[in-house]
Symmetry: C2
Subunit: 502 residues, 2 copies
């Protein structure tokens, strides 16, 4: 287009994944192109381009000829202040017609799913478009074949690792349970047994910690593909953040819209889990589904339906899958928050007397399943083999070696501010609210403040004396500690029953 060029200025506005461009209403390009607020535009900087949503400025935040980008768009274009950019109308999104067709009751065929997922992975869908796609697929409207093709499209939209051998082991937990951090222990045991376990994990989205956040308190996790490969070649396993690897990149985008909508779609869940595993090159995966009233999967019936779908879609992609159902009625371990959970993991690996027994037992169960499933142990002996690898210190040695290969093992910190929360009465613990516990840990600062969170001192059924500590708040700043305490003034997290009715 004609006229003087546009230059970038940084405003530092974080809109999460959605790309936003800020332009003055009187900007010549805005006027000439007929742009108005929420117009979808294509932004080009040298050979990089993306689609953004326009927010119009009626102020002098930007000078004449200046435009700005939201943080994610800025990063995606690798922009520098003063860079020249061009802004044009976004090309129309042909793949949206497939989304509309699905809403009108048509099936989504493979080419349509490839186009939709490709556009999403390339950042061409606004959040509103993504919500429409998720809605079109929700409510059981995706049949088995569509779910298989959706999974394939999600794998094809990103990188796919080929390890050149079999088996490649993986594990995943469908949970929503605070503190359920079995992954580092299972990977350490499996790698100690000689299995190849190239584990990638996510950061927290709405929870107080993701496995990548926990591992980041222990070692470096933002490895790129060559670095990850070299760790796995050397140690047989890794524990890295998946975000830097571009494995099923559409999944990360879909999840950020899906979560606030609270849309439970089995098809999306299955495609999300399996596309990550397949892209990471896994051939054998153990999936732990925690079932409980305040967990993600709330009934045995829902768990069995999800298991059936996982198994069939995995089979269609040549991925061997074993699903294990576990109890999801309360948190696992003691810590909730990155460093606090890392301490639990270390205690189990080191065989400390203080190690939380439930975390240990759950990790041994899953590791045993994985050892059998991958052919390392014969049926019925996996768990005892896992036990041996853990108690002999071999798993701990392997964990240390993996962390060293990733950049060095460090001891996670302890929050400077710790305050026990005491019981006002005696009784038996009859309920621990997983959601409120997660909320409380986040108020205390997790995961942004890595040592912040909750240290639980009780489990369901425990007898508690008046005045004894139910849990301890960990915080890095007095303000965060105060907010967590304020929340507790009006919300109970641990529920006690009378001593007479345990």
């Amino acid at each position: 287009m004609t006229g003087p060029g546009l230059r970038l200025r940084q405003l530092g506005i974080d809109t999460q994944r959605e790309f936003v461009i800020y332009m003055r209403r009187d900007c010549h390009v805005c006027r000439a192109e007929g742009f108005e607020a929420l117009t979808r535009v294509e932004v080009a900087l040298r050979d990089r381009r993306l689609i953004a949503t326009l927010n119009v400025l009626d102020s002098d935040l930007l000078g004449a000829g200046e435009v700005s980008l939201s943080k994610s768009a800025w990063q995606s274009l690798q922009a520098q202040p003063g860079d020249p950019i061009t802004v044009t109308h976004a090309p129309s999104l042909e793949s949206l017609s497939a989304v509309r067709a699905k809403l009108y009751g048509h099936r989504l065929e493979a080419p349509a799913l490839n186009a939709v997922i490709g556009d999403i992975a390339a950042g061409r869908y606004s959040d509103v478009h993504i919500a429409t796609f998720l809605s079109a697929c929700a409510g059981g409207r995706m049949d088995l074949q569509e779910t298989i093709e959706l999974t394939r499209a999600m794998v094809d939209a990103g990188e796919r690792i080929d390890w050149g051998r079999v088996p490649i082991a993986d594990k995943h937990c469908v949970g929503g349970l605070p503190g359920n951090r079995t992954t580092p222990i299972v990977v350490a045991i499996a790698a100690a047994a000689g299995l190849i376990v190239p584990k990638t994990s996510s950061r927290a989205i709405t929870s107080p910690a993701g496995t990548a956040d926990v591992m980041e308190t222990l070692t470096r996790v933002d490895l790129d593909l060559p670095a990850m490969r070299s760790v796995v070649e050397r140690e047989g396993g890794c524990l890295v953040w998946g975000g830097a690897l571009s494995l099923s990149p559409a999944d990360d985008i879909l999840i950020r819209v899906e979560r606030p909508l609270d849309l439970d779609s089995d098809a999306q869940l299955v495609a999300s889990i399996l596309s990550k595993k397949i892209a990471a090159g896994a051939t054998h995966a153990v999936i732990d589904i925690s079932v409980g009233a305040t967990a993600k999967v709330r009934s045995d019936a829902a768990a069995h339906m999800l298991r059936g779908m996982l198994e069939q879609v995995a089979a269609a992609h040549g991925l061997q899958l074993k699903v294990v159902l576990t109890c999801g009625s309360q948190p696992v371990g003691r810590g909730v928050g990155p460093a606090l959970e890392a301490h639990d993991v270390l205690a189990v690996l080191r065989g400390a007397a203080t190690a939380p027994i439930d975390l240990r037992m759950r990790a041994l169960l899953l590791a045993g399943e994985l050892l059998e499933f991958c052919g390392h142990s014969i049926a019925g002996t996996g768990k005892s083999e896992a036990w041996r690898l853990l108690d002999s210190g071999l798993a701990w040695s392997k964990f240390q070696a993996i962390c060293e290969a990733q950049g060095g093992l460090r001891e996670p910190g302890v929050a400077p501010l710790r305050e026990p929360v005491k019981s006002g009465r005696s009784g038996f613990v009859s309920d621990i609210d997983n959601r409120r516990l997660a909320r409380l840990a986040k108020l205390a600062g997790a995961p942004g403040s890595p040592t912040a969170g909750i240290e639980l001192h009780v489990k369901l059924g425990d007898h508690v004396q008046r005045g004894s500590a139910l849990f301890t708040l960990h915080a890095e700043s007095p303000g965060e500690l105060a907010y967590a305490k304020q929340y507790l003034a009006t919300h109970s997290v641990v529920v006690l029953a009378d001593e007479a009715t345990p």
Copy 2:
């Protein structure tokens, strides 16, 4: 919450209807409440409150303790710079569970629809939530009863005018045809006949002009309810912008998300049209559905289905409805753009020799139907009565009186820059692309620049000589004119066929 208060600062960012709040990442409230980008928060200023989406700032655009709001949120709270505000977590939206249930195949009962529409009208839904609701209702998933209840919920969410008499006449066009501005003419004729026609119209959303934009070049249109009432009491009719009247306010919000998604939902369309009419107190309405390949309704079958639904839903609400199907194959009149269309309207009302005959005939047809339908004329005589009222100058006198009552009639301007676009060859006009024509008018500056747009010189079937003008571009600035011309370099708007094959 504790800590020093937050103060408002103006940044002037226009995000359309979606309310956005801007806070520094290191803001104590952000940290303490665990807010992150895209968190939904409740913002309170004195006794006003709204729900907004958080955008987090990593820059010094805002000082410590300062927050900002998008323009629409700023206006909604009637904020002033420096005002103290409080920001808390938004209460959870109970009505979203009804949206999810609809996605999962359940029907929406009246209480659920009331809750959803009430939340939308109150601005509690983000655009992503609205997209999910629209998706849940699209694809023919709303049955007749649901559409009736949706319409009722939309009426109940806003003001409803009671005129205390019958009939109250109204008209509406489902079209998408550029220049199809029959409304001012039909209202003038009907009011001249003594009917009560309290007409409210919208501004353009994606088109080069809405009826309110056209009327604004002739008189004042942003009347409040008492002012509108007094115009109607005095002159029997009005031609005002509906946006200031709070009639079916959820409709305006839904439409802004619906349009970019291009979701054709008959239920939403019917509820949108009829809720506005019912809220405005209409008892008898004529609906003009233009059918054509590039119009909104593309086939007779679609038109008949829409007509059936409109009639049944209207009947359930006691609204008398007459649907007229008209030809939607090309633009109506000559002008496309606010002032250019106003000139066409004036020419027809004044009986000018240059008045576009198609606009005149269409307005007479619809006015005749309305006169018969409201019992003013007996069957078969409405059109000739409309003809008489128009050609006698009575309709023109009534139109002038209505405009005077609304604040004075003024002559619309003419754009300072006009450039004819000539045909490069001879031939017959075989096609006029409605969508490209609309786009071209917007590039030339419509509706923001009121005199900008397109003046068409040809109709389908016309014979054109090489070098004769097909249309004239009207613009208020050289830049806009240049952009329109640039578009024409790569897009043809008027298609010619060989003289041998007319």
